[in-house]
């Protein structure tokens, strides 16, 4: 029976009735059809239903097509988490074009680089960023690029720098525009530039299939019910908000927009808009924990996903004490945002709070869209022992791995190794299959030949009651090669000394891991709340000169 005649290959081919390209655009079309008058978007005074929002996205697609934009073109956006940014996640790909959301904290040069590299044909601009974008447009070599001003009555300041407003553009479009599904689910849907601390940013290309699958995976990973209320504390420009614009459309939820990530509006919206889910970096969680108790007045169930850095155990414990269930996720721009989740096991239900936080601080296991996850030797790709100690590189494989880097075959080839995506992150696999990051390679401190995980040291620092934020980097040392150098922000009204912290660390970690240097200061951060360790490394290096 080596060869079979296969009765299942006869006359059972694809046809338009039984094969449809997978795309998250189908989600908004279905939701607008099934729940037309259900509220879709909330932002200040703005309230729009799914029918209204869908009509606006169709207008946007129609207007773009009317202006000659289509498949393979790039439409860039520089915007906060406002309704127009949400709409662009649908309207732009409905036109056939690719959505390129740009990090709003970049300087004019970096934005200009992206506009040039992405060959942007259209640029939508939020007034909050009009000044820096205006400079970027002048630097960039895109004379034909159509610049469109988004207007926001609730924002004071900014100026018009484009040829027309976003509402003018929508007015050109047809609210009943008959857009098409992508010709192939492999077609590009979006382009996200990595924030790379060195070298030029790389443009990560997502496709419709991966976006649809990761958006659905968000629902299943989080056990999200239908009609969840999602608050935008995570920038939508960051990995397309981890695919949550498409997730909200899939589960017919409410998109609660938010311009400024501050505790007052966050807690107010959680209460008033009955927010059930939000995402954010650990630094956002830390900010909420440290907010005045009077603000924290909500009683319904709220869940938060956090990623971007391993959340300190104390932050997890404090969030949960506040009534917010914390799930850590992990991923990269290259994996559509979170593709790994620190899945809770019911067998752990009885563990104490400390153990609970430690378990939740591990990055975890595959989400349902990710096919493979391993910790392996970066050269041979041989999986390393799942012993919780052997450090290797984290590799992923699945439909939520990027197509590659735009116009950068060298970087793409380097990222894909032997059927896997090489994350560049270092970690261990625990015996139960959970991955734990032990640092980006550059975050490992090698002191006297011993590897020290800066994350591990930071985790201890965060347990001190007076520590607000902490980051540990390598400081060059003649004798030891490197020593750990800790940067700490002290909580308001508290004070700390290097002696106190040294003593605290000695009680909680091996002697060789205790930072030799403590510096008390504000920490520099990226727009996504990641502490900018490269700046701290420079400062640590400068201490020796």
């Amino acid at each position: 029976m080596a060869e079979h005649s296969n009765i299942y290959e006869l006359g059972l081919d694809r046809n338009p009735a039984n094969f449809v390209q997978l795309t998250p655009l189908s989600f908004i079309e279905r939701t607008a059809s099934v729940y037309p008058d259900l509220q879709a978007v909330s932002y200040g005074e703005v309230r729009r239903s799914w029918a209204e929002t869908y009509a606006r996205t169709r207008r946007l697609a129609s207007a773009l097509v009317g202006r000659g934009i289509g498949k393979g073109d790039t439409v860039s956006v520089v915007a906060a988490n406002i309704p127009e940014m949400f709409e662009a996640h649908f309207g732009v790909p409905m036109s056939g074009a690719v959505l390129n959301t740009i990090n709003t904290r970049l300087d004019a040069e970096a934005i200009a680089f992206i506009l040039d590299h992405a060959e942007a044909k259209v640029l939508l601009v939020d007034p909050e960023f009009s000044e820096v974008v205006d400079r970027a447009v002048k630097i960039a070599h895109r004379p034909e690029m159509l610049v469109v001003d988004i207007e926001d009555p609730s924002f004071e300041g900014g100026s018009r720098i484009g040829r027309l407003t976003y509402e003018d553009l929508l007015a050109e479009g047809d609210p009943d525009f008959a857009w098409s599904l992508p010709g192939s689910e492999w077609d590009a849907i979006s382009l996200n530039y990595t924030s790379g601390t060195t070298g030029d940013p790389k443009g990560v290309v997502y496709h419709h299939r991966g976006a649809a699958l990761n958006a659905m995976s968000n629902i299943m990973t989080w056990g999200m019910g239908q009609h969840s209320h999602y608050l935008w504390t995570l920038p939508m420009f960051h990995c397309n908000g981890w695919c949550f614009p498409w997730t909200i459309a899939a589960n017919a939820g409410l998109c609660v927009c938010l311009r400024a990530v501050r505790p007052e509006p966050i807690f107010q919206l959680i209460r008033d808009e009955k927010v059930t889910h939000f995402c954010g970096a650990p630094i956002v969680l830390q900010m909420l924990v440290n907010a005045p108790d009077a603000l924290k007045d909500f009683t319904h169930e709220v869940k938060v996903m956090t990623a971007g850095a391993p959340p300190p155990a104390a932050v997890i414990a404090n969030m949960e004490a506040m009534g917010v269930e914390v799930t850590q996720v992990y991923g990269l721009t290259e994996t559509y945002g979170p593709s790994v989740v620190s899945a809770w096991q019911s067998k752990w239900d009885g563990v104490d709070a400390d153990q609970r936080s430690r378990l939740k601080a591990r990055q975890g296991v595959r989400n349902i869209a990710l096919d493979g996850l391993m910790v392996a030797d970066p050269e041979t790709l041989a999986p390393l022992p799942a012993d919780g100690r052997t450090i290797g590189e984290i590799f992923m494989r699945g439909n939520n791995v990027m197509r590659g880097y735009l116009k950068n075959p060298t970087a793409s080839a380097k990222a894909f190794k032997g059927g896997w995506f090489a994350s560049g992150d270092l970690g261990v696999m625990h015996p139960d299959g959970y991955v734990e990051i032990k640092d980006r390679s550059k975050d490992i401190i090698i002191s006297g030949g011993e590897n020290i995980s800066s994350v591990e040291v930071e985790d201890v620092l965060y347990r001190h009651p007076d520590v607000m934020e902490a980051a540990v980097v390598a400081r060059p040392d003649e004798k030891w090669g490197e020593t750990p150098c800790a940067f700490i922000t002290v909580k308001p009204g508290r004070s700390l000394t290097a002696e106190e912290m040294t003593e605290f660390c000695r009680q909680h970690m091996a002697r060789f891991k205790v930072p030799k240097t403590f510096i008390f200061d504000e920490l520099p951060k990226t727009s996504t709340g990641k502490i900018q360790k490269f700046m701290l490394r420079d400062r640590a290096k400068a201490l020796n000169s």
Copy 2:
């Protein structure tokens, strides 16, 4: 800008790191890896974890491959909802073969027809059905077919008819078998024969892609949390249990098996196994409603999906009074089971119980996997007005529409019309986009030139407090062409007369719709609980002779 040079098509191709075939087999692999010691299966005394269940499915796949079974081969099963049936949903396709679950209520001739038509290479047999299957095997022309006896210590009776037992077969296999994902997500995963009341049954072919997407859609449509406990009141042989074996694997739930669908074990399992979800025909719901109140002792949240016939409003109201939330779904074998759902709208929350039941009795809207749903002219395919009155044929389109009928290109060609699947069901589209079935074409009664929906008349009959079950069919009539003829089963201890029912009907429907004939008797049913109207039609016809 008519032609674009497309930067997104350069060097961004599929590779093994970023493209993986979609299949529900990935779900069990992931769940067994992430939750190895979580309970997967419960059946009588049997308790198995996900690791154990996955190892058994790998053994099954390995043993089948060892016996020369592979891609394009058919493995048939005749079994109740027992663990081995669940395992077959994974182990068989892991071998590359196609799973063919056969309706357990069929007679030997019909089973033999299926074995021959499917060219079955292996047949797994539950002892409950050994006698009829033994006869079928003798009728069929499959001398090489390997017959395997499933043993069930909790079942008394049956005899061994095969060459080895299921456990013998598993013992031949490797629990660590390195099975492969399908070569293409379009490959066949299962084969389900329609129960067609006339002519030979047709073999509906499902593929991996559709099975994965409909399984995920079940989670999202129902807002199922992770680790749901699913009770098997719906036959797994019926559209692969509406894809729920794969859904349970995807959400790492508990598969609560059940041989006999009776109220006592159902209520006992709901209580003891903390069942959160189950499915069943309206007749199953009616049976539960009519069970002694003493049995109904559970307090946790339970949800039921019902389909197969429009549930009478009274059944919905009574289930919900019992604390079980009812969602009606609709579909056909050709659409992987349910592809349409009577989605609840929060704007209806305030309606009274009667209106609530009526809303829930409509078949509804697309599930998230279905791309298109319309009520159209069966000839021209022109969509008909969404006025809730104009009757047309229901058409579907999407990734959860079958590949076609096995070895039946004529039937396949007839089913696919102009990019749509023709369901053969007649219905209306309401102004809010909800579809409501007004009967299979053969269930419409035409009396004096007026169309009478038998469903509509049945709905009224069910509202009578003494009616247990009801079915209405056409009775030939010289004057009127046809008249409605009602068959009614009266509740135990109650009695009814034709006069009483006529009076009741006159109060609740137009005079021309009131059945002219009432017959009080047991109703003949299919294995899936559908009332066999063709038998009632024969009886109605015989009344005139």
